[in-house]
Symmetry: C2
Subunit: 234 residues, 2 copies
């Protein structure tokens, strides 16, 4: 088992003459291998999506990718590593493409706009990558993914809390803020599930419904700000 150092680096400290590469053991990999990895991850995404993590068998993933189980284990040390690599790539893509949704907002933007923009971005990402939802909300996910989920959860919570504290001028109790932020995130998740469960116009209607729920929940809190009475109903 002298393979797979790239995806699952073990403890170093043995004979290593030239670490003058980029990072860690280079593990020379041909283009063919990279293609196989992408192929396997795509197959894994499909299988995870349809059956969930635990119910997904590595043999099924290999079959879906059209390779043998042995080939799969040439590139991934174990089943967990597949989910982790998949999660890492999704996380990376999300931060790259939709990172702006996490950036601090101009405190002058109305609630509707801020909520709408954030919801649109995250909904779009989740619609493009349904595996993300399966990996993040499965009850049986491996430890590493769970950590990533917690990190994302905490990040989102912090961002929402920031946004809320910019809305509530002096109502200072941070415990209230935390609860409200958690409630917002929960409502978003619930709405996301509804959105993912429908297609086309119906899906968009649910997006509007989710935005309505969030805005109506948050608007009364923004008492000190200039009200935005214009509300485009469904």
């Amino acid at each position: 088992m002298p393979d797979n150092q790239e995806l699952a680096p073990d403890a170093p400290g043995s004979d290593r003459q030239e670490q003058a590469q980029e990072k860690e053991q280079p593990r020379r990999r041909q283009a063919r291998g990279e293609r196989r990895i992408a192929q396997l991850l795509e197959a894994a995404a499909h299988v995870f999506c349809t059956t969930g993590y635990t119910a997904a068998s590595t043999n099924a993933i290999a079959r879906e990718a059209g390779v043998s189980p042995g080939t799969l284990y040439q590139f991934f040390p174990n089943k967990e590593a597949i989910a982790i690599e998949l999660g890492d790539r999704l996380m990376h893509e999300m931060r790259e493409t939709y990172g702006e949704a996490l950036a601090p907002v101009d405190p002058a933007t109305p609630v509707e706009e801020a909520v709408g923009a954030a919801v649109d971005r995250f909904i779009a990402f989740n619609c493009d990558h349904p595996v993300f939802f399966a990996l993040m909300h499965g009850p049986d996910i491996p430890g590493r993914i769970s950590e990533e989920h917690d990190a994302l959860h905490a990040t989102l919570l912090a961002r929402i809390t920031d946004l809320l504290s910019s809305l509530l001028p002096a109502t200072a109790d941070p415990a209230d803020l935390t609860r409200t932020a958690r409630m917002c995130l929960g409502m978003y998740k619930a709405g996301l599930e509804l959105v993912l469960g429908h297609e086309g116009a119906e899906r968009e209607a649910y997006v509007r419904e989710l935005k309505n729920a969030l805005v109506r929940y948050l608007e009364p809190l923004a008492g000190a700000r200039l009200g935005t009475p214009a509300r485009a109903g469904a």
Copy 2:
């Protein structure tokens, strides 16, 4: 395997002389057996609660109940039947104890009151029986439980839709009603998760937060009704 007809009745039609009992094959069971069943179901509830359905092993359930695996299979034909019987009993108890929450409401009651009463009842039930949440929201539940969940889901949806249609006088589009009802149920589930994740005063604060979110979401829809501007904040 001439046992377990009561919990898993197979196709009848064979030699049955005296069906003058109460229902189905009587399957004479001693008090000891009934006690064992209750004991096993309690153990199963605990194991399902902590590890989920699929991860729960029948041997673990038997161990938790302090009996051998063979004894477990004397009363349940298979693992699924354990979850089904547990679900049936929970469902029965819910209908018995909290069925009034599903009864039609007086159309004169304000939104806050109706929402608050329903939320309180269901939250209380779920707090008393955390297994219910685990069985209903696990992604790996067996078919029968899934059907029960769907039935409950549909019932709740129908009730919420009724309540909504009594609020919206003439805004007739039933598709909008369905979406709003689904959003309400999703918000309730999200809130329930938050509530179950906390204890004591914090838990009650989340209950209030959930009610706030639901009321604020629904209140603007009740435009034609006499408004209830008194809102007790957190």
